[in-house]
Every structure is written in C-alpha cells, then in structure tokens.
C-alpha cells in the first residue's frame, strides 16, 4: 500500500510532551475548545501521548460503574427497531498534508492558503475561531527571528507544526509542545533554517513587555 505522505504523520523525535493534568482533562472532556484542539493536534503527531490519553480514557471507563439510573421501559425495543435504519458510515480522516486533521476544519489543509495578519517584527498570526475560555492562533515566525518578549497570565501551549524554535536550552521541533505557565518569561527564537509555524493556545491575554507591543496588543487581540 503506497503512503501518500512524504513522511509519516507521527514524529519519532518528539521530546516535549503534554503534561498529565492536561491529558486527564482532555480525557475527562473539560478543556475549552482551543486546548482540545492543540491536544488533538499534538496527539496526531505523538503516539506516546496518544497512548497516555487512551489510558486516561480507561480511567473514565472505570468510573462507569453506577447503574442506578434505570432506562425507561421500552427504550431498548425502541433502539432495536431503529438499528436497521440506514446511516452514513463515518469517513476515515487521514491527512495528506503537513497539517494534522484536527486543524483542517479551522484552517484548511494547505499552509499556503492561510490568511495571515502581521503582528510586528515579521511575525504573523491567524486567529482560529474557537469557543470562549481560550484562544488558539497560528503563529509564523521568520527564520532566526525572536518572538516579542512576553510573559503570561495563565497557561500558554505552543505546538510546532513546521520548522523549529529554541527557548533557552530547549529545542522544539515538529510535534514538540511547549507548556508555559504564568511564572515564565521567555523569548523563543525560530531556527535559522526555515520559518517556524506553530499553533499557540492561551487561556489569558499575553503580557508584552515595553510600550509599543502593548499598543499592538490592543489592536491585534493578543
């Protein structure tokens, strides 16, 4: 069977993974949409975390032990009668591009056709439409360039889709996910070889240092 991708979707070289609390929350179904999206995208690339997520699903299965809520009489017969109704078999979704499937309904499957907005200093972003409570955006950082210096309230997760960035001593390539909480002040720098495209999710507005970036903040909804 020929494989349509030029490389397999999963990355064997991922070193930076999701944390246990996030994996549990994803399994429990209590994360806001934007975080669900970044988790699902990382899991598409990382079998280690996919296995962890399924282990947390098993915890959910173990909690399905209370049978005191009886179904109404006749509900089984009702269902049995409908089982033969036709239905569309769910399609299998496997990506043939660099963009994992969970992102397709948000940004399409082609990095070339994303509608970027400049954020300043060569950095571009595209905000994804997700429910309240968290924001998801694509970020494009020119090769060798730094993200504007910022700290956060809340939690920020950044998943590399293309290229790579360095943050202090740590190197993040495709599939790696960086998790930063509110203590962290960091300056990620894109690898010199190519532009770095990331999916970034926050549950609070970013804090930018300096006056100019704060003005941008108001205009570009960061």
């Amino acid at each position: 069977m020929t494989d349509k991708h030029e490389r397999p979707m999963t990355e064997a070289t991922i070193k930076h993974h999701l944390d246990e609390a996030t994996l549990l929350a994803y399994a429990a179904g209590t994360l806001p949409e934007a975080f669900n999206l970044i988790v699902a995208t990382h899991l598409s690339l990382c079998d280690t975390c996919r296995a962890s997520a399924q282990a947390y699903d098993a915890v959910g299965g173990a909690l399905l032990d209370d049978d005191s809520a009886a179904m109404t009489a006749g509900s089984l017969d009702q269902i049995l009668a409908q089982l033969d109704n036709g239905f569309d078999a769910p399609a299998r979704h496997v990506s043939t591009s660099d963009i994992p499937t969970p992102l397709h309904s948000y940004i399409g499957d082609d990095l070339e056709s994303i509608r970027w907005r400049p954020v300043g200093m060569g950095v571009k972003q595209a905000i994804l439409r997700t429910s309240k409570g968290a924001t998801a955006r694509l970020l494009s950082i020119p090769a060798g360039a730094a993200m504007p210096d910022h700290g956060h309230h809340g939690t920020e997760m950044t998943l590399v889709l293309k290229g790579a960035f360095q943050d202090d001593d740590a190197y993040f390539g495709r599939g790696d996910i960086e998790i930063a909480d509110s203590d962290v002040q960091h300056i990620p720098v894109a690898d010199i070889h190519e532009d770095c495209i990331c999916l970034a999710v926050t549950d609070a507005p970013l804090r930018f240092q300096g006056i100019l970036p704060r003005i941008w903040q108001k205009f570009v909804r960061i």
């Binding site: 179904g29 699903d57 209370d66 179904m71 049995l80």
Partner: protein, 238 residues
Amino acid sequence: MSFRIHFFDPTTALLRILGMIASGQTSSRDTPYGSRPPAPTALAGPVNCSRRQRVKNDKPSSAQSLWIDEMLRVRDNRDKAAFADLFEHFAPRVKGYLIKSGADGTTAEECAQDVMTTLWRKADQFDPTRASVATWVFTIARNRRIDMLRRDRRPEPEDLPWGPEPEPEQSQVIELQQESAKLVSAIADLPQNQRKLIEQAYFGDLTQAEIAKITGLPLGTIKSRIRLALDRLRHAMK
C-alpha cells in the same frame, strides 16, 4: 415487531444458564473469534432459565471480559441479542454518568440511547487491543456530553491510517483487558479523597491546579500496552 436472533456458543450459553462459570485459566474454546479471554470466577445468585440473564457480579473486573464477546458479535455478526446485553449493562451506566455530569433525566436518557446507537454504528472502530468495552463506551458518552451538554467542540486526533486489526493476537486482547480490570480495582482501592477528586475531574469541572493534585493512578503498564498496540497498527499493513 422486533425479534431476536440468538447466536450462542452452545458451551458458553449452557454455562451461563446454569449460572456457574468456572474460574481458572483460559481454555481454548471454539468460536469464530479465537480463544476466549479468561472466564470470571464462580457467580452466586438466582438464575432465570427463560432468557439469558446477566447475573449480578460483585467483581466488575471479571464482567468486563464478557463484554468483548458481545462487542465482537455486534461488530462481526450484527448480533442484536448481544447488543441487547450491552444495552442492559451500559445504558444505565451512561445515563448515570450524564446525570452526575449535570444532565436532567430526560436529556440523559436521550443521550444514553444515542451513545448505544453509536456503539452499534461504529462497532468496527472498537479495538480490543487498545480499550475495554467500558472505556470505549465512555469515550462515546464523553463526546456526546461535550456536544449536547456543553455545546462545545472536542477535536479528536487524526485517525490512524488503518482501522483495528480484524484478527488481533488473543494474548494481546487478554493482556489489555486484564490491565483495564486492574485499573478498575486500583481505582476502587484508592483512598476516598483521591477517588472523589478523580470523580470530580471526570464528572465536573476542576481547574488544572486541582487536577494536578490527583495522584495514585497506576497508568504505567496500561500506557505501555496501548503504546505497543499503536506501534503494531502503524506497522501492521506495511
């Protein structure tokens, strides 16, 4: 008019009707699915010979191994009797989960029916080397909960290029099911306060900080088993 077609393995049917299933090692029994997972230990209680009856079992871990049989019959034979058994066991549990998550009785019932219908329709996606039936039912119920109760979206990871192996190694099925059963026991044995935290995390809304306080979940082995199953699937068709 609804009717049921019964596809019984005669040996198993007889044993169940008598209400006694011997404990012990897996014995190779002839079924279309290969040898069976380990049988549960002896069950006590009244038996009803007029129809197959699920006898109450105070060892949930053993009962899980029975559901694989039912699930595979649904998947491979579209067996409605097997589906009925699954419904009788899981529908109330799904309803209970949804009620604990904040749904009213009517919505929970509707949702639970929906979940069981989905189980029928997506039966070919069930992979016994990666999940117990209870786990799989939970994931369907959780997704419906997010959709119907929270009116939110939960993106799922990319599908694996191929579905579950149609005839997996029985040892791999057994091992995963045993790990799932051990996890059920471990959770039942947790200190009350930890158990409660986990329930709150899965039924309600805890902050990340509160979730981070959850400890004592022995997930190492089951993670490894699932990871091995994923690796096999990645390489299976090459």
